[in-house]
Symmetry: C2
Subunit: 151 residues, 2 copies
């Protein structure tokens, strides 16, 4: 059992960092001048329609002011546009430019192929367990509250 604990711990530290490092390597290779964060925002905006600044900020788990800052940079890079909603002029809507859409599609394709590579590394048996396990793990961390961990 101790071995499991150590692997989980390992996961929380090492895999985390390795994924980050790998993603960065890929971006350096294929990403033009986008940062990981840029790409995640582009992914959140999506291809269809316009998203509220507030919603994207929430989805990314950052404050609205941080999203403004990021949107400034993405706008400067030419891949998003911002406009006021006609319905409620307080609301700013973000959408992708043509350049942004190309970028979205490129990265989506890249992610898909990377997921394929990962899947190839496991047997069907393993995947059958790993897949729901990852879903559970995600749910755990999404809901996890610091007070759960008594110190």
């Amino acid at each position: 059992m101790t071995e499991f604990k150590e692997n989980i711990n390992y996961f929380l530290v090492e895999i985390f960092n390795n994924i980050l490092a790998f993603e960065q390597r890929c971006l350096n290779r294929f990403g033009g001048n986008f940062t990981i964060n840029d790409v995640h925002i582009i992914e959140q905006i999506g291809l269809d329609g316009k998203r509220k600044m507030t919603d994207i900020a929430e989805a990314m788990g950052v404050r609205l002011a941080s999203m403004t800052s990021a949107a400034d940079r993405l706008e400067r890079k030419g891949c998003i546009v911002r406009e006021r909603s006609a319905v409620d002029r307080r609301i700013v809507l973000m959408s992708l430019t043509q350049y942004g859409r190309v970028t979205f599609k490129l990265h989506k394709r890249f992610h898909d192929r990377m997921a394929n590579k990962v899947i190839e590394a496991f047997t069907d048996e393993e995947l059958r367990v790993l897949s729901p396990a990852l879903a559970s793990l995600n749910e755990f961390f999404k809901k996890a509250d610091p007070s759960m961990i008594s110190v």
Copy 2:
């Protein structure tokens, strides 16, 4: 099979962010004025002895200049000290202060308890598969090269 792919993809995006968010929440709660990055560096230095700046930078996957910057901040916070090696005076060694050691132990304990909580969420059967699977996943990303993913 498509379901598996979707979960893996989900893992690569969502869990990553959720773990980060959770870790940040815990740090806000228990961490004093340390950032996640601070904690990771403290963990890399460890309790026993002194580590080369270069080695820690490598382990963290950042450039040496970035580590200098981080070390400056950590030194200012009073949890590390830097000194020149007597063997080779080009080399700077980092070690934890008493305050740094207390912080190390606190976070180590926290991580252990968090791992326990994660383990509680799974059956023995799942853990038996999940543990080596996570190890494989880690190995994959550690070695993964962008050229593996044809676009």
